[in-house]
Symmetry: C2
Subunit: 216 residues, 2 copies
Amino acid sequence: MTKKALVIFSGGQDSTTCLLQAINEYGSEHVEAITFVYGQRHDIELRQAEWIAKDLAIKQHVLDISSLGQITNNALMDKDQTINQGDNNHYPNTFVDGRNALFILMAAIYAKSQQISDIILGVCETDFSGYPDCRDIFIKSMNVSINLAMDYTFNLKTPLMYLTKAETWALADQLGYLDYIRQHTHTCYYGVKGGCGKCPSCLLRDKGLQAYLSCK
Amino acid sequence: MTKKALVIFSGGQDSTTCLLQAINEYGSEHVEAITFVYGQRHDIELRQAEWIAKDLAIKQHVLDISSLGQITNNALMDKDQTINQGDNNHYPNTFVDGRNALFILMAAIYAKSQQISDIILGVCETDFSGYPDCRDIFIKSMNVSINLAMDYTFNLKTPLMYLTKAETWALADQLGYLDYIRQHTHTCYYGVKGGCGKCPSCLLRDKGLQAYLSCK
């Protein structure tokens, strides 16, 4: 049986790089994407995700889990909050409690219904924002939990886990998609098309790109 | 600080017994209930859950997660399917992939927002329906996963895990609520008020009750 993969896909740099790598590895007809509507501040990333999935001819499932907004509060889902980066004692206020766990769980439920085992996501603990649900130890624990919950052998794959942002740009370049990702992916916390250049997310992305381009 | 608890509450025998035990242990003003709308065949159990929470003066949060119906299919959510009990090679078709994992995760996200650590649920691996997400090993794994995901010390408590149905009836009796649970909780897969007396869920409940009453 041909292996299939499901990519958790937001339309940002990291998940788009994962999607392109999956297409390279599995073939585009064996790759699906799942995108979550969870009450993001901006729908620009959803529109970009839909545009990219269509452009790459990938079957995309968009799932609304915005009831999350009823039970938790944070700056990524609330336009009235100013974004801050946190400090040694606090997470950034863009941290959405349980978000990656929920993405993984919903993706796994869908994957099982499609007889898919491999689930790919673009989390990274190297140049990360300090979120606990981006760490490898969480991903491995969650992998065990979903396997036990559904008596099914899921394989969570995180190809970017130990890459720096510069190395993620290098991977995009190796895949032949450096300019594509620069132009078509969305990362900015403030929803500015092309990036505001100032928010933590834009700064991380730009710094990585400059580091890669200067060593190329 | 006074300990608080959140009970995952469906309005059935098991979760109602857990709710009553929690009220006994924490005091009713320190107990909250969370109930999920996930596309159940019948809304009778939701109505019962709301009635009981009100009757016991417990703060109840009802959360709609029915987007689950877009990604999985089973007899508990689809009225057109006949319920069967499965066999050695198959789970009953009432098994909802990922349901308990989703309940636990959403409950945990809500609990953290309320500074609650203890989350109580009525799963049981003794007289159970064969569902993998009722097993102790899954609960313990999921406990680790949510703690890692949110960097918070949740304590998942499953007081019924190793009780038989007869022992769960005995617990209700000790708490002074045997008749209350007989009269007011809903368990039947077919949504018959008072129980159809024939579905796997009614049979398990009735058998346990008869076993308890005959030894009393």
